[in-house]
Amino acid sequence: MGDIRVIIVLLLIGGGLLWLLIRALRGKEVDRRLVFVFILVSVAAPLLLTITFEMKPTPVVQALYDKIENLPAGSKVLLSYDFDPPMAPEVQPMADVVSRHVLARKHKAVFMTLWATGQAQFNITLEEVIHRDFPEARDGVDYVHLGYKAGNEGVLNVIRTDFKKMFPTDVHTVPWDSLPILKRIRSCSDFDLIISLGGGKPGLKEWVLFVGDPTRVPTAGGVTAVVAPMLYPYYPGQMCGLLGGIKGAAEYENYFRDNHPEYAGMETPAMLMMGPQTVAHVVILAFIVIGNVLFVVTRRKEVKR
């Protein structure tokens, strides 16, 4: 039944686009509002009908997965939540699945944020990943949340050599020295892996420039799709992995779920979002074709005149 509904919706979208193409061949423009309607349907229908696809990890995604997977249990991983609500639909799924992977491999997770909004975003991971999937994980022993500090790159400059100077307590005001997880951590150099999740400034680029590169600590991250192309110059030299946009998150979710059957029932929001993204991209491509057909037809008419 579900498949029939999907086929009907796809036929409706395809038929509509064909109609617009025929109109374009006759030299008729497409009204902006029609473009909006098509995008609305192509995003809403796959969401409502739950269209999902199997994803294969690209090398940049696989690299981060392998890095976390191959670290010995008990390794210290620093995760920085550098994003806000507008970025959350793309970045939160990455943050959740990467955090889940880190804790599943029994690594020690230290969470912090360079964005004021990151502190609340971490609460989502805390509720939906840590409390749900790792009820045995102890705050201050297996993971800790250090919270937010203002100062952007200035914060990174200080924690590169002295973490405690910038974060004397965790988010619950528990002193640094009372937290067992932080016992052997003095600076960023004491971490085995640094992961920044965001898409703005400060973000992964600043982590690479101010911390990862000077300390030689492997650095990776997840960013919004628009930012990913700007970070490719750092891979694989200064960055050991990258999740770009919802596609990167979906690839990671799919690969993690396939390789960790104990989490087969986990939520996969990024994979769910790949349906709308795929249909919307194809619709946008169709509109580009229609636009070009119209352009050629109009130019021919002008030449004839």
């Binding site: 497409v30 902006r32 473009v35 909006f36 098509f38 995008i39 199997e54 994803m55 294969k56 690209t58 806000d84 609500p85 507008p86 970025m87 959350a88 639909p89 502190q119 609340a120 609460n123 509720e127 919270g147 500090k149 203002a150 100062g151 952007n152 200035g154 914060v155 400059n157 200080v158 050599t161 002295d162 100077k165 910038m166 988010v171 619950h172 005001t173 799709a225 990913a228 192309p229 700007m230 490719y232 110059p233 891979y235 946009g245 596609k247 790949m274 993204q277 795929t278 919307a280 991209h281 194809v282 619709v283 946008i284 491509l285 509109f287 580009i288 229609i290 636009g291 070009n292 352009f295």
Partner: protein
Amino acid sequence: MRREIPLGITIFVGFLAIVSFFSPPLEGLGEDFTLFFDIIAVFAFFLGGGNLVRIHATKLIKRKADWVYSIVTLIGFFGMLAAGLLKVGNPGGIAAPVTAPGSLFSTLYFNLNLPLGATMYALLAFYVASASYRAFRAKNREATVLLVAAFVILLGSTPFGTMLTSWIPHSLDILQIPNMAVWTLSAPNLAGQRAIMIGIGLGVVSMSLRLILGIERTYLGDDRG
């Protein structure tokens, strides 16, 4: 003196930041100056908040265009500020984190800020589609190259691209759309990005030197530069 003192601070701190990077004994001093920067950064919040209130209050009082939206902004600003500062409804009291589940701040954040922020960003999809239809046209050679690159990246970032070209034999897998998308990002894009970054880097070095040497003074309100 209004210019000489800030200029002197810039020259002193600028030189010290460079020297401390290369001289381990001065490393601690460099860190301290970075901490001063962080303290100053906190004051930017007061400045930003004050500026927001001033602009919107003026708009409201003078009944300028779209003054109604200023009411929403001011209510949102003071509402969140009060909820966060006073930690209203915070289950752990005043000592618990401001974002503790159950607090008013948390409720407002997750039920208003989060969906509104995501909605604003999602609206871009409509404008991107409309702009793509109008702008991506093969008007000349350069525009055609851009068009082909956009096609490959858009298709490559969906499973549809994989489905379309999965029949291509392994020996020619570079012609599969997802691989072409990866190549586009990791070869031509990479070269372009690196060129831009090197250019920016050189620009930053030259501007920093102009600031440290006191040649660049526009930040002091001196337009002689």
